[in-house]
């Protein structure tokens, strides 16, 4: 008798109409049918021979094909006489040594950055995401890394409006002098005065669009990268808000700058105090398994959540908003994507957030 063993680094996430196979070693995911899922469930309880016997002759063929597919992709292996129990299940614990993984800042005045710098004497922040509503001068861009010199801050990413002095010479100067910047996104960028240089130490993106911070919360396949940290995190915590801290344009400290609840202002309180405040972390433990619709979606562990913009249809006992993210156009029950902003069911929530309704 032969037995099928799934490798423990292969995660099958069952959705309402399909499954997602995530390969945590090769960092890729692929969609497959529910039939394949049911087969793998059967193969956990019965030998390959017994499973084939259960089905009629025609399906036997299909089963062999499925098993061949699983073996070809090295999702599993075959053992004889019994399942091979010397291999252990992977633990899905998420253990990270950071206190704050990322601070999302809506920037106007640089004095906030100095405030954050001094907060870093007591709390570690690993990444800083800056959305600037105004152009940042060359001096200001150059100064960013310098402000955080000698701190445990590992990386900075910046979203700012483009202007014509951001050219090749400046970008390579910035790349040479700023060790922490790993991503620079230039928006409002009609004509460009730079080449997309491969040798920069940060990734450079640009867009013609005028990006406002309210654009955040987009759910799109391009954000569905697969890796073990991401999956471990989203199985245990909220995939966007866990260990996140936000500061909005007025200095209000929030879990994310787009959320309504604020916990004091950077001018008169400390990040450290805010972290201890009741309610600040209320969304940290809300996983996709407890969000309506998402809990039936095969993408739930590689899709990053949004609590700032939701469909506003559900609330749990603790008063947490457990509705699906507003800006998701995916329907796990049909397996189809559509443009979220034209979905009539979302109109009410869009009005609430003051979004333009596209006709």
């Amino acid at each position: 008798m032969r037995y099928f063993n799934l490798f423990s680094s292969v995660l099958l996430t069952k959705g309402a109409s399909r499954i997602l196979i995530s390969d945590l070693e090769r960092n890729v995911s692929e969609l497959q049918s529910l039939d394949l899922y049911n087969l793998t469930e059967d193969l956990k309880l019965n030998s390959i021979e017994d499973v084939i016997k259960e089905y009629d002759r025609d399906s036997g063929e299909i089963i062999n094909e499925y098993i061949a597919f699983l073996l070809e992709n090295e999702y599993g292996f075959i053992s004889h006489n019994n399942w091979d129990n010397s291999f252990n299940q992977l633990s899905f614990n998420y253990d990270s040594s950071d206190v704050i993984s990322n601070l999302f800042l809506e920037l106007d005045n640089f004095s906030v950055l100095h405030k954050i710098r001094s907060a870093m004497d007591t709390i570690d922040i690993r990444y800083l995401v800056i959305y600037s509503i105004r152009q940042l001068s060359k001096e200001e861009l150059g100064e960013l890394d310098f402000i955080f010199e000698n701190t445990p801050l590992e990386g900075i990413e910046i979203y700012c409006p483009y202007y014509d002095q951001i050219n090749d010479a400046f970008l390579s100067y910035l790349s040479d002098t700023s060790k922490r910047i790993y991503k620079l996104v230039l928006y409002n960028c009609d004509t460009i005065t730079f080449s997309t240089n491969e040798n920069l130490k940060f990734s450079l993106e640009y867009t013609k669009d005028y990006i406002t911070i309210k654009n955040c919360g987009i759910v799109d396949l391009k954000y569905f990268n697969t890796n073990n940290s991401k999956i471990f995190e989203s199985k245990n915590y909220n995939s966007c808000l866990f260990k996140k801290i936000g500061i909005d344009i007025d200095g209000n400290i929030k879990n994310c700058p787009l959320m309504p609840d604020h916990f004091g202002n950077i001018r008169n309180t400390s990040l450290e105090k805010v972290l201890e405040m009741a309610g600040f972390k209320k969304y940290w433990n809300l996983t996709k398994d407890h969000i309506e619709i998402c809990k039936d979606c095969e993408f739930r562990y590689i899709c990053t959540d949004c609590r700032a913009f939701t469909e506003k249809t559900h609330q749990n006992k603790e008063g947490l908003d457990t509705s699906k993210p507003l800006k998701c156009g995916y329907d796990p029950y049909t397996g189809e994507w559509s443009e979220w902003s034209t979905n009539p069911l979302k109109e009410k929530a869009m009005r609430y957030y003051d979004f333009k309704i596209k006709q």
Partner: protein, 61 residues
Amino acid sequence: MENRIRSEEKNKLPLNFKYLNKLGSKKSKELNKKICYVKCDKFQTDFLTRVTPFKAFTRML
């Protein structure tokens, strides 16, 4: 490509030097160029590796 070690040395070497492999690849060399270190007093090192985050923290684009 033959390695140059065996022809340069006049003393005999163990046989495994004949089977010397190249270390790394073009790809790993490229990756190495992008590695950045930051100085960090708190962790008492001048070489805290800047690791790219495993997910997008914001999704504005």
